[in-house]
């Protein structure tokens, strides 16, 4: 964090505290994928803390195939104009020009996302070069810390987006939490080797060992489709959830969205989650992840 003295004459924008602090405000909330202004309003009405503007939800990206890119600026601007809650949007991994465009449009958070086709197979974007904060996906602690070292101000489990299957999100979140718990038990001598093993900067590894958590907010994403899924991720330690295809690929999006919001807040109250789960209509059909060929697994993108 910046150690520059803070005075009233020189307000500072784009600091780590302001970027990470924005994610702190989203905690306990649900961030919903939306593809147009109408869906964005449904999400806001349902109590979403933010929306993710994208051209196609991951389930459709899977179905359509081809290269998935940043959304049309017009569509992002329409969504920004339609709602008063924060708006996020996705850039391809390593496509820092898409990120520059998103920053110029005034989006509140950029998701450097494996759901889009990666633009660089070696480098992620330098996220310190931006005023707009970034959220990045991770499957394990080392990956999360490498993203934070590049400037990410929020982390989400990758899960397997567009499947409606929560199994990979569970795997990734458990992995991250287990690795953090293991670090807690290490003494100072062992942290150097741990950093090498995690392929992450020693300073960050030491910080995690001391805090017992990531230095940024940790959400869950990828396959959440029901109120119970959202509550499960919260009970496993996610501070909030992203819901992609699960809402607008279901029978009654408005009702399901509101139900997932309730279950995310009262994640430890089975009675409330049960009530929220009643009569939601059809859930998205979903895909079994073990039948997905390696080449169609988004979680393998990024490193």
């Amino acid at each position: 964090m910046s150690t520059t003295p803070i005075t009233a004459d020189q307000p500072q924008i784009g600091t780590a505290r302001v970027k990470r602090g924005m994610a702190e405000q989203l905690k306990g909330g649900v961030i919903m994928d939306v593809v147009n202004a109408e869906q964005a309003k449904i999400a806001e009405d349902a109590g979403a803390v933010a929306v993710m503007a994208l051209e196609r939800v991951p389930a459709d990206i899977r179905k359509d195939g081809g290269v998935a890119r940043m959304s049309d600026p017009n569509m992002i601007e329409e969504i920004i104009a339609a709602v008063s809650i924060p708006v996020m949007a996705k850039s391809r991994i390593g496509h820092f020009v898409e990120a520059q465009i998103l920053q110029s449009l005034g989006v509140d958070y950029i998701d450097e996302s494996e759901v889009l086709t990666p633009a660089d197979e070696v480098n992620h974007s330098d996220k310190f070069a931006f005023t707009t904060p970034f959220v990045c996906g991770a499957t394990n602690l080392g990956e999360a810390l490498r993203r934070i070292a590049e400037g990410a101000a929020m982390i989400r489990s990758k899960g397997e987006a567009g499947t409606g299957n929560v199994v990979e999100a569970v795997r990734h979140l458990r992995q991250i939490k287990n690795e953090i718990a293991r670090l807690r038990g290490y003494d100072n001598n062992e942290l150097y080797a741990a950093a090498k093993e995690l392929r992450a900067p020693y300073e960050l590894v030491k910080e995690v060992a001391e805090l017992g958590k990531l230095p940024v907010v940790l959400f869950s994403a990828g396959g959440v489709a029901t109120p119970a899924d959202a509550a499960l991720m919260r009970q496993l330690g996610a501070e909030g959830v992203f819901v992609g295809s699960g809402i607008f690929k279901s029978g009654d999006p408005a009702k399901r969205a509101a139900a997932i919001v309730k279950a995310t807040t009262f994640y430890d109250d089975p009675k409330i989650i049960a009530d929220a789960s009643r009569n939601l209509g059809e859930a998205m059909v979903g895909i079994n992840c073990d039948t997905l060929p390696e080449s169609e697994r988004y979680a393998n993108r990024g490193w």
Binding site: T7, I13, R17, G21, E24, Q25, L26, G28, G29, P86
Partner: protein, 203 residues
């Protein structure tokens, strides 16, 4: 009065940071999500978060009216950012159907300082907290556009675009509100100020 018990409205937002700041200010801090939990606290903090979500959940789970009743009965409440919006009698740029707890005779403009790209940190001269400015973190922050006669202005920032200043901290009776987030900084003086308010209200 023994050590005050202060609840943090835990429907959504940066609850954990407020719990830590309150504990550092020598209060007993706990989460409040249900009406019966509200009954057990001497005072309440409404955290930062998304005010539209918080307002919706407060109505849905039957907390809005009980909080209003406690406010009318004199319970001290401190609101940061979204919490400031929740304490405003009138809001601008909110959703049409957005309800607040109210209690402070002020008009608050939501997201007045702009979107996330305009979010900033700044020192804030805070009336009653000594010479050293409070470390203010402003995130898509609101400001107070107008206050009634009974409202005490505790802090203002110079406006970026003119000679005016923007009100960023106010107090009316037992109610305190700031546009910014002291809970994100490790500077606990505003929370200590609130704990003193709670202690004198209990006397």
């Amino acid at each position: 009065m023994s050590t005050p018990v202060i609840g943090v409205l835990a429907l959504q937002g940066d609850v954990r940071e407020h719990l830590i700041a309150l504990a550092a200010a020598d209060a007993i801090a706990r989460e409040v999500r249900r009406p019966e939990e509200l009954a057990d606290v001497d005072a309440l903090v409404i955290p930062g978060g998304e005010s539209t979500t918080m307002s919706k959940l407060a109505l849905l789970f039957g907390l809005m009216e009980p909080v209003r009743e406690r406010v009318r009965a004199g319970m001290p409440v401190y609101g940061t950012c979204a919490g400031m919006i929740m304490l405003a009698d009138k809001i601008l740029d909110g959703r049409d159907d957005q309800e607040t707890v109210g209690g402070i005779d002020m008009t608050v403009r939501r997201n007045a300082f702009g979107r996330q790209n305009e979010s900033f940190e700044s020192g804030v001269a805070f009336d009653g907290l000594g010479e050293e400015p409070v470390h203010g973190v402003f995130i898509r922050a609101p400001w107070v556009e107008a206050v009634g006669a009974g409202v005490q202005v505790l802090a203002e920032l110079p406006a970026a675009d003119g000679p005016d200043s923007r009100i960023v901290a106010v107090r009316q009776g037992n109610l305190l509100a700031t546009s910014f987030h002291p809970e994100l900084t490790g500077d606990h003086r505003v929370h200590e100020y609130f704990v003193r308010m709670v202690e004198s209200a209990g006397r």
